[in-house]
Subunit: 156 residues, 2 copies
DNA sequence: TCTCCTATTGAGAATGGTTCTCATTAATAC
DNA sequence: GTATTAATGAGAACCATTCTCAATAGGAGA
């Protein structure tokens, strides 16, 4: 019985294969770290955790592979306001798709998915109109809310 | 008869005053550049244009003041995918508020404002629900669509 | 208009996240 | 196995942005 995690990893490996990318140890380890619950990590954090599993790993390799994984759609990258790009495993499925609440003060990120179907429908409709009007091929969207998290709100 | 531009600049000066910031020549010039039609410039581009008006201007001063203007709400900053932060004069009014279509290939930005009222209402409703549920004080939102502009779509 | 205080400036150095280089290693097709 | 070449690790390089610090100039008050 494959766990959710192993099946997600297998899908990732398959995708790498489709893109003619070799399934190297560093890639496995990086995907493994991204697959864990902690999300929204920056490259340095991913490097640190992956190094514990595979100590000879190099930081440049982490950057190179994150870039690759983003390019082939297995990973999402985004910014929150500090100057470190954040990464998280791509969540395309209807159950896990989500958007973000981003705290301007502590740069923490909250995933939310309530009414995400509403948002998705709404955005799809907008995309249809906009792409027609501007002859623009929309590939993905970004919707974020910025402000103060509950902690930071009370320590002003 | 004040033009739209001069009145917008006057409002900016007033705002600076309210925040007890001196109305220096560099600030005037930077605001003047931002107030021109070309939007979505990066710091270097703003520096270049402002230098033509005020040649002794320093790049650090541009960065410092852009930061200030963002902080007091006169300027918006955002990223498009190259590694240079973009800036544009804040457009809060109902007539000029807009969102962005961003080309992943050439990093150009298209302003759109059709159905922006719909979007705004929709987002406001979401903000209300989310801030209650997560005890999160939402201060602003970001909604962008990424893809390929009409030019880049045809040169793949 | 003059003076004083200090916010602001300009130049260049420093920072730090990310990318590049290059010799070495290892995945995979045959 | 062997050959091919994609991928790696280490460190240097890059470059947008921030910092430092002595010099300058707003603007409040006299
Ligand atoms: Mn997330
Ligand atoms: Mn715009
Ligand atoms: Zn916070
Ligand atoms: Zn384009």
């Amino acid at each position: 019985m494959p766990t959710e995690t192993t099946s997600r990893l297998n899908l990732s490996y398959e995708r790498l294969n489709n893109y003619c990318c070799r399934l190297t140890r560093p890639r496995q380890v990086i995907l493994d770290v991204l697959d864990k619950v902690d999300r929204h990590l920056n490259a340095e954090q991913i490097y640190k955790r992956a190094s514990e599993i595979y100590p000879t790993l190099g930081l440049a390799t982490v950057y190179r592979n994150l870039e690759l994984l983003v390019r082939i759609g297995l990973v999402w990258k985004f910014d929150v306001g500090d100057d470190k790009t954040r990464y998280e495993i791509a969540q395309w499925s209807r159950e896990t798709h989500h958007h973000h609440l981003i705290c301007k003060k502590c740069n923490s990120v909250i995933d939310y998915s309530e009414s995400i179907d509403n948002e998705r429908d709404f955005l799809r409709e907008r995309e249809k109109n906009l792409s027609r009007k501007y002859n623009f091929k929309i590939e993905n969207h970004c919707i974020d809310f910025f402000g103060l998290c509950s902690k930071c709100k009370n320590t002003d």
